[in-house]
């Protein structure tokens, strides 16, 4: 099963199969763009009609965690890409090392986001569905709306991160078994595309959550 030249019977060659698999991943990511796109469009639309409340909500977010997490995710994409470069040169050991760093960064993001930031948000009564809500008065409705978007979008992004972490573990496991080589590393490539995409989703959410309307 570790042979590099195996390909499924509907393909002409291993490279035919590899390119097709990568094309499939790109197309899947296009569907993801539309999935998050609907949410982000709704967000911008709702913000347009409730600007004061959204601004009040944005001021309650923790800029330092968001910014640190942005740096963590960009770095994780970099280390993943470095791993891909190594396996293209046939170096499995370096691939596993790079993916280990990527994995740690991904887990660090999740820990900061959900272990620290979400917990703090709940403690400060920023959960929009609770009867007691920190922001009151004219800004309350808009701020609740802001935090609905905040929790749904970071929650969905977090689910994608967890899936990404699982995929990383799977890739690392296969790499350790020596299944990847300079000739065959399609799954590494495809999962890398996914990981970077999740990164890009965050780059869209970051300004929407932490920057716009902060004043």
């Amino acid at each position: 099963m570790s042979s590099a030249v195996v390909h499924d019977f509907q393909y002409e060659s291993p490279s035919h199969q590899a390119q097709t698999a990568v094309a499939g991943m790109w197309l899947f990511l296009a569907t993801e763009v539309l999935f998050f796109g609907g949410l982000i469009l709704s967000w911008i639309y709702s913000r347009h009609w409730n600007q004061i409340g959204f601004d009040a909500g944005a001021r309650e977010t923790k800029l330092w965690i968001g910014t640190l997490n942005t740096g963590i995710l960009i770095t994780s994409s970099f280390t993943y890409a470095a791993g891909l470069t190594w396996i293209r040169a046939g170096n499995t050991r370096r691939l596993v090392q790079c993916l280990t760093v990527t994995l740690l960064l991904g887990v660090a993001f999740l820990a900061l986001k959900f272990g620290l930031e979400w917990r703090d948000d709940f403690a400060k009564h920023l959960f929009p569905a609770a009867s007691m809500f920190k922001i009151t008065g004219a800004e309350e409705g808009g701020a609740r709306l802001f935090f609905i978007f905040y929790f749904i979008s970071t929650g969905l992004h977090g689910v994608h991160m967890v899936v990404g972490v699982a995929l990383l573990l799977w890739i690392m496991q296969r790499a350790r078994r020596g299944e990847f080589s300079a000739l065959y590393h399609t799954p590494v490539h495809a999962v890398g595309l996914y990981w970077s995409f999740v990164d890009i989703v965050w780059l869209t959410l970051y300004p929407l959550i932490y920057l716009v309307g902060r004043g």
């Binding site: 499924d8 019977f9 499939g24 609907g38 709306l145 749904i152």
Partner: protein, 549 residues
Amino acid sequence: MNSPAMASTVVEAGQIEGSYLTDGFTVRSWLLTTDHKRIALLYLATITMFFFIGGIAAALVRLNLIVPEGLLGSAEAYNRLFTMHGVVMVWFFLVPAVPVTLGNFLIPLMLGARDLAFPRLNLFSWYLFILGGAVTLWALFAGGVDTGWTFYTPLSTAYSKGHVVLAAVGIFIAGFSSIATGLNFIVSIHRLRAPGLTWYRMPVFLWSLYSLSVLLVLATPVLAITLLLVVLERLFHIGVFDPAIGGDPLLFQHLFWFYSHPAVYMMILPGFGVVSEIIPAFARKPIFGYKFIVWASVSIAVISFFVWGHHMFVAGTSLYSAVLFSILSYLVGVPSAIKVFNWLGTMHKGYIRFDAPMLYALGFIGLFTIGGVTGLWVAALAADVHLTQTYFVVAHFHYIMVGGMVSAFFGGLHFWWPKITGRMYPEMWARVAALIMFIGFNLTFFPQFILGYLGMPRRYFSYAPEFQVLNVLSSAGATILAAAYLLPLAYLGWSVFYGARAPANPWGATGLEWQTASPPPTVNFIQTPLVTQGPYAYSPPASEGEPHV
């Protein structure tokens, strides 16, 4: 992966012993298959079940409307019935029907390929479909949903007493099955075409399914996120469609129709493809204006993303946006008309045979034209204000979906039945069924045009007594239609065991799928075909052998 090639052994030149049907007889060999042909049959069984569940709900709706005060006596039960009918028919029959059955079966064959690009994803999509369908059916049988298939807010998020969350979760899951199917088709058509099969040598069916797949892949995720927002709002009693905090219920309608208008074209585009294969084969002429038909499919797919606002003319959107959406909706008429005229042009001076597939195709053209032209009526802003939310709209979209899409599905099923099963269906029974279906359909839905024009609103369990005659006519038509739908179930089922053996190409049709055995071997083609010319190289029957069995 083990090689399915092992199952088929070459007996003599061009002959293969065994087919995909004899390649394993265990339940496991079906439930764990990655063969696109077997998956197509799994899907066929599944959507047939959903078709009859949705049909039973429709029958009960028509039963209720026999008397003005409502035979069932319960508005609530009636609401749940038409919701069940809509949900099951739209998501579990109309949208998937042709792609997952005929599309799954035929795309690799038409491409000259051995399978789809991602066979395991294909099987996974069926399991997702089953799971989504099971969850939705659970919701519908555990008490049902009373929102209509459109799930409008705030009814769905705040006021409905039905199982909205379960139903939406089921549709959400089934949506990912659609996405997987569309993705598989697009990648396969790009990457697995046989040598020499250029884009303009592809049959129209492939172009139609390609256009449809683009819609599946780009529109379905928007439905997914929208349903998710509805579910969360219902669970937490607060959400983005909640006007109490500054949210906008109309935003739901925008997002919903951004999916659901393209969804209408998801239903009809494969129908265009099927009819474009049948008509040249039974008129024995190359298709007229191939490139126009092809690009008409693509442009319908593109335009479909820009017309959603015509569902919201009376929802309180701005007049300017309504005018714009009205004009854009008229644009759809152009490629649709191109198709109809080109099918007629194909038949002009052709050598037409009225076999069952052709009868369905002819029915399709007529009924689709009526549905399409009345679509222009409701696209007209001034007329729509009067006609919207009446039975006119119900009749209009049933002419497209049932008259059009279901006719095309049956046409395609009969046309490719010999290829799929290796057996001929009984021609006489098939013609009778096609005819009864056409009559029953028109009797059911034509009176609804009149009812709607006279002002009978849709989705009410009772109506004014002066509408009774037309309603009884419609219900009588539904009875005939039900009988016509049961007929194919009987004679197609019979033909699987007792039908005459089908030759490789019973219709004398062009197309790669006819060049392999009926039923095809698991690997589809012993030798990858080489394509040297465009599709539909038909000539008059004099130069052909006798095409019939």
